[in-house]
Amino acid sequence: MRVRWLAPTVYIIFLMVPIYWLLNMSFKSTNEILGGFSLYPHDFTLDNYREIFRDPFWYGGYINSIIYVSLNMLISVTAALPAAYAFSRYRFLGDKHLFFWLLTNRMAPPAVFVLPFLQLYSEVGLFDTHIAVALAHCLFNIPLAVWILEGFMSGVPKELDETAYVDGYSFPKFFFKIFLPTIKSGIGVTAFFCFMFSWVEMLLAKNLTQIDAKPIVAAMTRTASASGYELGLLAAAGCLTIVPGAIVIYFVRNYIAKGFALGRV
């Protein structure tokens, strides 16, 4: 059993290779990248990162992405909270069917919705705004948020609600002062999942924006510029897209498994 460490090590190396390679490239100049195979940057440079923080085309992309992702998280969680509460606490006609069909939005590729969104937003003047992308992403994030939150809410016994009413809490007071703090980890996980799906989604984000709200993923599709290919710059931009996700994951790391199980653990 001396090689017990071997399998996990190989596995982790295998997983880390693309990320390492991205990082590796980001510290090289484009010339070095195209020059030949090297396992580490011989000519270490931070120029790529400097360029990103200097050029509004690049850092603007991050800001745009963060704005619409945050907007989307806010809208999705706010809209999903009352819906999830209704699904978890009340029985109504067709509740189970409705709950299931919520997920149908996830069954179609987002590309299907590009055309209707594009046409609609152009007509009402929402094209190339942050809110446009945020709303478009609600299409798949709200149902997901409802599912995750419903799982967490159903884990809270109905007796808690009853106790609060007996103690004199009105419904809104109970909901905000007792219920929401009770499921705060669920809200955190839900926000994380909304963040994740909105952050990595490219098709809708790219097609519903042009200049003012252009997300970083769209910026990154510009592979060539006046000075030719800028692979180092692209790699650096790619590395930076991982950072916000890593930060968010850190905060909800203890609850992510529960989130993947839609709160039903």
């Binding site: 016994p157 808690l160 009853e162 106790t163 009413y165 007996v166 103690d167 007792i178 703090p181 009770t182």
Partner: protein, 354 residues
């Protein structure tokens, strides 16, 4: 009158959870709702709390018709069978929460919370979260929250059912003291006849969505209105057997008989059901009016310091419960003596006749 149900019916869909019930609870004291699981105790409590709406009928609390009054405005408190506390608040905040909602001044609030905490031995835990407490302490917190409010009506829905044996005994002894002198009417739901007897006060026995009998606990135990009440209010279950009355003579199926006197002697001859509590059938002779039942011992068990034996006489199985440890041999014949004076007689409709 503190709390009263007037012809209350609760139906959910096609099912009737509570059949028409009219009960005027005793003012200031314990009202025990006694019945097996599914008898409708919790439903009745939720109706009183306003957490469920009655299909028809009225609910009055403290001389006020509260049928259409919200839970929040009924001035009641409630403790569930499961330990329910606000997980995001400390024990102190938990106990203080009904007072804070009511808008009490800080000093008054603090004084009352500390009083209640002292009473329930929670003072050292005031700054902890409910999740850091043991089950018993969690339930004490819930009880403290119920007490601190000084509600007109305190509803306790099997509050001790989820506690272990020792804690249950301890809290059960404390409960009557906690509410003594507070002027609150307490409704206490339980499925254990022993608890009803220990808590005293009044008892309403429930079965299948009906209140079968309501009155002072001791009275109901001594003279249950009907067979259902006797069955609910007996642990181990009451022995029942058909008995034939001819004059003053009662005869069981197997031919064993005894003579009766008093009101039962005056009812018409015929077939009745006799009910005997297991502890009136013992292997040892004590007192007069004893009827000998000889049977084959089927099962024996010890319950605390009591010996329980199931034995068969003819086609009928009887249960005997007696103080002390008896060594019965399973499969052998044994003599048991039944105290005929303590027998209850029910007519064909199950009503007590003597």
């Amino acid at each position: 009158m503190s709390a009263e149900l007037k012809a209350v019916v609760k139906r959910v869909g096609a099912e009737t959870h509570i059949y028409e019930t009219s009960v005027a609870l005793a003012d200031k004291g314990f009202n025990v709702l006694l019945g097996p699981t599914g008898a409708g105790k919790t439903t009745l409590i939720k109706l009183l709390a306003g957490l469920e709406k009655a299909t028809s009928g009225q609910i009055w609390i403290k001389g006020r018709d509260v049928t259409h009054v919200n839970t929040q405005r009924r001035n009641i408190s409630l403790v569930h069978q499961f330990f329910v506390n606000y997980p995001n608040m400390s024990v102190y905040e938990n106990i203080a929460s009904p007072l804070r909602v009511a808008g009490l001044r800080r000093q008054d609030r603090d004084r009352r919370v500390r009083e209640a905490a002292e009473l329930l031995k929670l003072t050292p835990m005031l700054n902890r979260r409910p999740s850091e407490l043991s089950g018993g302490q969690q339930q004490r917190t819930a009880l403290a929250r119920a007490i601190v409010k000084e509600a007109d009506l305190v509803l306790l829905d099997e509050p001790l059912a989820n506690l272990d044996y020792k804690l249950r005994e301890e809290l059960r002894d404390e409960l009557p003291k906690l509410f003594a002198g507070r002027g609150a009417t307490v409704v206490y739901a339980t499925s254990e006849p022993t608890e009803a007897l220990l808590l005293g006060g009044h008892t309403a026995t429930m079965q299948d969505g009906r209140v079968t009998h309501f009155g002072p606990t001791a009275e109901i135990y001594r003279a249950p209105a009907d067979l259902a009440t006797a069955e609910v209010f007996s642990d181990p279950p009451i022995n029942t057997a058909p008995v034939t009355k001819t004059g003053t003579r009662m005869t069981l199926d197997g031919g064993v008989g005894w003579t009766v006197s008093g009101p039962i002697a005056d009812v018409p001859d015929g077939t009745y059901t006799v009910g005997v509590r297991p502890h009136f059938i013992t292997p040892r002779a004590n007192g007069e009016g004893l009827v000998r039942l000889s049977g084959k011992v089927l099962i024996t068990e010890l319950s605390g310091s009591d010996s329980v034996a199931h034995f068969r006489v003819g086609r009928h199985v009887w249960v005997s419960q007696s103080r002390g440890i008896y060594q019965y041999r399973v499969g052998e014949m044994h003599d048991f003596l039944m105290d005929a004076d303590r027998c209850l007689y029910f007519d064909a409709k199950g009503m007590l006749v003597g």
